[in-house]
Subunit: 210 residues, 2 copies
């Protein structure tokens, strides 16, 4: 602990986050993390119990910041429609700024059935997801949203769009004729705006976007 929060430890976490996100857990080697962080590979075992412990620490650190900023936009102080617009815009900015997050999360789903991220997912369930469901229910009770949609299903449909866009960006890029790179960041922002209108149109009893 020569630094405020042990600079060496942070360097290892930074490098590991990028490598785990890009290459996956199994394909990432200790020596690579050492090389990428500029830290001797053996030091990893000084700061962490092993490779898996490091992996869990990476997940924890990344999603701590998500959860801390998460529910702010859904706190009930804005009308439901505006809350949903802001949520999807925030989703896009967040995913643009932290491409590691959705890559790690997707890998965690298919590699380990979310086993290592179970705690974080429980916090998401009790936090942002439940808040979104409440926002939708609130809109339904006030007459702003149609009442024949199941709130939890509607919440999943709402958040699915932008996440899908990012995860399948290579495919979407090909679908849009932009190649596997998937177009500029502005395309993602444009899509997020569209996704907000799409969700609000789906939720609205009149088809107008409230």
């Amino acid at each position: 602990m020569s630094d405020v929060l042990s600079s060496t430890r942070s360097q290892i976490l930074d490098a590991a986050e990028g490598l785990f996100a890009r290459k996956g857990y199994d394909a990432t080697t200790i020596k690579e993390i050492g090389r990428a962080s500029g830290v001797n590979p053996a030091l990893l075992y000084y700061y962490f119990a092993g490779k898996e412990d490091l992996y869990k620490a990476v997940l924890q650190r990344l999603f701590d910041t998500i959860l801390s900023q998460g529910g702010a936009v859904l706190d009930g102080s804005v009308p439901p429609a505006e809350a949903i617009r802001r949520l999807l815009a925030l989703q896009a900015e967040w995913l643009l700024a932290r491409p590691n997050s959705y890559r790690l999360l997707v890998r965690e789903m298919v590699d380990h059935d979310a086993r290592h991220a179970q705690e974080v997912m429980l916090q998401m369930a009790a936090g942002p997801f439940q808040l979104l469901c409440r926002v939708i229910e609130q809109g339904q009770q006030s007459g702003a949203f149609r009442t024949d949609l199941e709130p939890r299903f509607a919440a999943v449909s709402t958040i699915a769009q932008v996440v899908y866009f990012f995860v399948f960006r290579p495919a979407v890029g090909i679908f849009f004729g932009q190649g596997p790179a998937g177009g500029a960041d502005q395309t993602a922002r444009d899509f997020a705006r569209h996704a907000g209108e799409f969700a609000l149109s789906a939720l609205s009893p009149t088809g107008k976007t409230a």
Copy 2:
């Protein structure tokens, strides 16, 4: 070729598909494929040029069948709204019956930026995806769908819901309080029906589901 299509070759492909889908490309070993298929590991190099060649063959075989059945439901012989309902129901049945497909596809996105699946994605872009865009445009021109949504964006929002539900099933299961297993298959079918209504409500100028 002692069999119609070389039974040994098929056995290798079957075992490799399951292992690549469950564990990923890197984590799957040649010896495991041999064990799971009941074929001597060295024979893999008789039938395929190597591990990567086998992987591409797996992708090709799996998505050949997708594409052959793909556009049938979108061929323009049914009204746009009904075509979209059928598409999402088909999507759910397809993903339920072939869990390897979305796992492999998602891995291909994050592991290789869809590099190995580029041909298949190009066929999807020129086939089912373009047909869905046409269906949406057709609905817009006939007045059944609102015209202020970009057809390609709307197509992505439409197909995103069910795919997200499957890929993030462990997370959705936790969100729904069903645990990481993600509930019964009927939940997926219920969600697919919801997704159809959600998309049609979003597309409809009146908010009714046509």
